[in-house]
Amino acid sequence: MTTDIKAIADQLHPLERKVFPLVERFSKLDDLVTESSLQQVEVLRALQWLQNKKLVILKEEVKELAVLGENGKKYKLNKLPERRFLEALADGKEHDIQSGINPVNITKEEVNVSIGILKVKNAINVRKDAEKNILFVQLTDIGKKLLKEKLTEEKILEKDFPFEVKHLPKEDKNSLQYLVKRKGLLEIDLYKIRNAVLTDLGRNVLKAGISNEEVIDRISPDLLKTGSWKTKHFRAYNIKTSVSRVFGGRRHFMNEAIDYVKRIWLDLGFKEMKGNIVQPSFWNFDALFTPQDHPAREMQDTFFIKNPNLAYIPSKAASKELIKNIQETHEYGRKTGSTGWRYDWNIEEARKNVLRTHTTVLSAQTLARLKESDLPAKFFSVGTVFRNETLDWKHLFEFHQTDCIVVDPNANFKHLLGYLKDFFKNMGYDKVRFRPAYFPYTNCSTEVEVLHPIQKKWMELGGAGIFRSEVVVPLLGKDIPVLAWGLGLERILMDYYEFNDLRDIYKNDLKLIRESKLFLR
């Protein structure tokens, strides 16, 4: 307890140090302001902090105060106009209001107001001469009596201002309202009166004593220059106080993950492949031994380009010779040892421009440019791919794939499994399983599944295999084992960030990007 009390005392802010001891003697805010010689906001801030520390309790009272207006001040000195009007009629005779009333004492406007008031009180009679259109007034008996008495309104005016409305006798409240309605006489203001009262804890802290010595609050350049900090103590902060949030610059979590994936492949000695998103079908499909009537090449699976709808091949990248080799491989297998698909291959079909449906297109282009002297070689890519899907919680029309090829005369199926297991281990999945699958361009095709560590369910994350000779021979000129795989990234991200909807990845909700956890595995 004592250490607590000491800690509390040490952490007091200079403003609190000034105000807190005063609360023992003064409770009203105004008094505290006067006594501390601080600004009202400073006192209020100090009291708020003290209250947060449960040292004082702030109480707030709302008071109705009657305050004199401009006219009210004038009338307090010179009497109310209706009094003066009464006095002008003191002789009891009938007066003509245009000329028969002493204008020194009373203005015309005040005359009109007074007539209204006195008529209500039955203090005067008013007669109108219709012909001359002149009003005549004369005191009644009540009026005469009033000459000797004070009006309630006058009694109110005589009070010390401002005064609290609640202290006024009930019977006078109507008159008060009446005065409020009159122009510039008096107003009723609502005042918040704040009082500070010590709590038991507060009393104890004060009793234990607050050192009077000046403590250092903010460390200022001046303090450092003069070295004056050497002789003073630092006020301790309450470092547990919550602070307002800040946000810094931030990369999109998808790109953070991509960087991480890239690093895995780079660490394993892979070289990056890059290429375009708009591709001729030739590279996206034909070079990968996908027959021209394959369902993946239909409108409902692949985005075709409206204009320019056809690619210009042969080209430098797709030479006449390469095209011929691929055509013959499709048709009868050429030099690959395959029967081929046994159909008539059509270059017009290969010319159709598409949005690439897989990054494997880059693997095909890389093989076509690779020289035998470059072997063994390993390549990776991470890129966007496109499928003609309707957008919903588990389908995107564009998403990311990472594709790799290992071109090595000594590569085999076991290596394929090894690279994939290593990759998924780095991505946080220890259990990987391989199921037979089918892709037109690979052998030993396999679907790669990982065991979700918490849900204990198998998640399908990609496809892999060894490129068929029908792919490798035309592109590379020689039948060399090429291990290949293509893995989706979005499902891994959905799992990592616990999204229920794939679309959240590309929603670009700034709060989500700014505050999402770092992609760390």
């Binding site: 610059g249 998103i277 430098k316």
Partner: protein, 606 residues
């Protein structure tokens, strides 16, 4: 991929061995099919498109039986000759010249078996024959047909018969117009001069492939005991596989298969135009044991390899050494590698050990990607939030909402088959996507300072297109840049662009200029901003950023210094026009720039 529903009882009987639930699930997955669901009555599996022979209870059961060891080697199949002939005439449309057919007798059909046969016919139609584009398949009760049967071409207006499911005679064109199958598949034959029909010896039209059978002679039901089965189409190879698959399934169902002799007018087909169908003789393929072991990283003996092949339904030739016999219904075996794959499946993918070979290769990140990461880091340092948006957008956002005109419109790359208006074009710049983000984040904290670096695409302009058509140019392109080479092919240029948007109550031109100048300072590229007109920005508050690079070249004598200035227009910068902001529903000022990263990167490399 086609999903088939298998009757579990029928399947298990065919598989020859009852497995526990767990084992069954495991084995189905590891034979290379996706198990969708399984209950006491039915098994739903997705069959990969390379195995159309597994699209029936009989086919699946046959493959499974050897896989689980209840049988081994090539499946038995017997047939005898029916003595019937099918004439395939030269009058046929050139688009549909082939037919194969056989007979199945002694069928004891019930509702279940009819379902199985129809399912197989339909699934084969969807996959192997590509929605009838590569062939049509038909079944008929044999007793209604008088042999010999002719397959011939007849002009559409001369064809009249009662199509399946209808009660009155219709003309061929009427069928195209009104029959559900005519509407669905009519596009295949609509433009042919002649349509193909089967006609029997009574001159009765039996069917009009690939659309529809006759209701009178081409309808099978539970009372049918003998079948005439035909396949027709443009690809003899494909329809032969389809017919072999059906024949094998009917045989396994207990039918007696009888061959029909094909009599082609075209003597190049078969032997002088003659051959028997079905020909279920196994294909032969030499087994390359070395290749198999090398590719799989195993050291299996011949016996082991042969054993695995038998487990996958292959026969091992007794007459010839090292030869595998491939069943006549296996359409997927093109190459030695396909034998290798089946050995791997039988060996069990889960039984392979995995290893990472110690092969030294040098890692290398794409240089432009590396550059882009540095640029991103600068923007993160400046407190910007990185966005990642779709490449596919729409012209309304890219052009109209940005206050741009038709002139810019022409360069947008549109999709031919977009599913929605919202996503029908490839973005040609980044800023519209950033403005869309700002319009969707009004509830979030400000300032909202965004950047995105991504690919944009545009059509190669017309002048360049002319050049591109010039084949000589293709030969002349000296670049080794893959992206440029691909652009030459596709006619679509792609760039990496950096889009930057600053959005808060006091956003103004100065802040954008400060940011771009800071970036260019770090890249050591002196720049100048020239006033320009751009409808997306406030007039008088928009500029074109030009950078200069000075290359100092020294000649051999180290005396003369030649200065080579390179100048590039690399960005637009300015305050976004309030009209544009209104189009996006943004109520906070935005100042932005868009910079061509590819251009800058190329400049830095010079």
């Amino acid at each position: 991929m086609p999903t088939v529903t298998l009757n579990r009882q029928v399947f298990e009987k065919l598989a020859g061995k009852k497995l526990t639930e767990e084992k069954l699930k495991d084995r189905i997955a590891l034979i290379g099919t996706d198990l969708e669901s399984l209950n006491e009555k039915e098994i739903h599996v997705e069959v990969f498109p390379n195995r159309p022979d597994m699209l029936s209870e009989q086919g699946f059961g046959r493959a499974f039986k050897t896989f689980i060891g209840a049988a081994k080697g090539l499946h038995e199949f017997k047939s005898e000759s029916s003595g019937y002939k099918l004439f395939v005439e030269s009058s046929l449309p050139k688009e549909w010249p082939y037919a194969v057919a056989f007979i199945a007798r002694n069928l004891k059909l019930d509702a279940e078996k009819v379902r199985e046969i129809i399912q197989l016919q339909e699934k084969l139609g969807m996959t192997l024959t590509r929605k009838r584009k590569k062939g049509g398949l038909g079944l008929y009760p044999l007793e209604k047909i008088k042999f010999p049967v002719r397959f011939k071409g007849i002009e559409p207006k001369k064809i009249r018969f009662v199509p399946l499911g209808f009660s009155k005679e219709m003309g061929a064109l009427e069928i195209l117009e009104h029959h559900p199958k005519g509407k669905e598949y009519g596009h295949i034959c609509r433009d042919w001069d002649k349509f193909s029909v089967f006609v029997d010896d009574n001159n009765t039209i039996m069917s009009m492939p690939p659309l529809i059978n006759s209701d009178t002679v081409g309808k099978i039901d539970e009372s049918t005991t003998e079948l005439f089965v035909e396949g027709t189409g443009p690809d003899l190879n494909v329809i032969t596989y389809a017919i072999n698959i059906i024949a094998a399934s009917l045989y396994d169902m207990g039918a007696k298969i009888e061959t029909i002799e094909m009599m082609y007018d075209d003597k190049k087909v078969g032997k002088e135009g003659r051959f028997d169908v079905p020909d279920m003789a196994a294909r032969k393929m030499k087994i390359d044991y070395d290749y198999i072991n090398r590719m799989l990283g195993l050291s299996l003996g011949k016996k082991e390899v042969n054993g695995f092949l038998e487990q996958m339904g292959y026969g091992i030739d007794k007459a010839e050494n090292d030869v595998a016999l491939i069943a006549a219904y296996r359409a997927d075996i093109l190459h030695q590698a396909d034998l290798m794959e089946d050995v791997a499946i039988a060996y069990g993918y889960d039984n392979f050990t995995s290893e990472i070979p110690k092969v030294a290769t040098i890692a290398e990140e794409d240089a432009e990607d590396n550059f882009i990461r540095h640029v991103s880091d600068i923007f993160v340092g400046l407190g910007f939030t990185e966005a990642n948006t779709y490449h596919i957008s729409n012209k309304n956002e890219l052009i109209n909402k940005m206050n741009l005109s038709e002139k810019e419109d022409v360069q947008v790359v549109e999709l031919a088959n977009a599913l929605t208006e919202d996503y029908n074009s490839v973005r040609n710049w980044i800023l519209p996507n950033l403005l869309k983000i700002l319009s969707e984040n009004k509830h979030n904290e400000f300032p909202q300072n965004l950047f995105e670096i991504g690919v944009v695409a545009r059509k190669v302009n017309e002048k360049k297109e002319e050049e591109r058509e010039d084949k000589k140019l293709n030969a002349m392109i000296s670049t080794d840049n893959l992206s440029l080479l691909t652009s030459q092919e596709t006619g679509v240029e792609e760039f990496k662009r950096l889009g930057v948007a600053i959005c808060h109550n006091n956003a103004d031109f100065t802040q954008a200029k400060q940011v771009i100048e800071y970036l260019l300072k770090l890249l050591q590229l002196p720049n100048e901003i020239l006033p320009v007109e751009h409808p997306s920005f406030v007039p008088g508050r928009v500029g074109r950023v030009i950078v200069r690079k000075v290359n100092n070249k020294e000649d051999d004598g180290n005396e003369v210094e030649e200065r080579d200035n390179v100048e590039r227009k690399i960005a637009f910068i300015g305050e976004i026009h309030p009209k544009v902001l209104a189009n996006f529903g943004i109520e906070t000022p935005v100042v932005a720039f868009e910079l061509n990263v590819t251009e800058i990167f190329d400049l830095l490399k010079l």
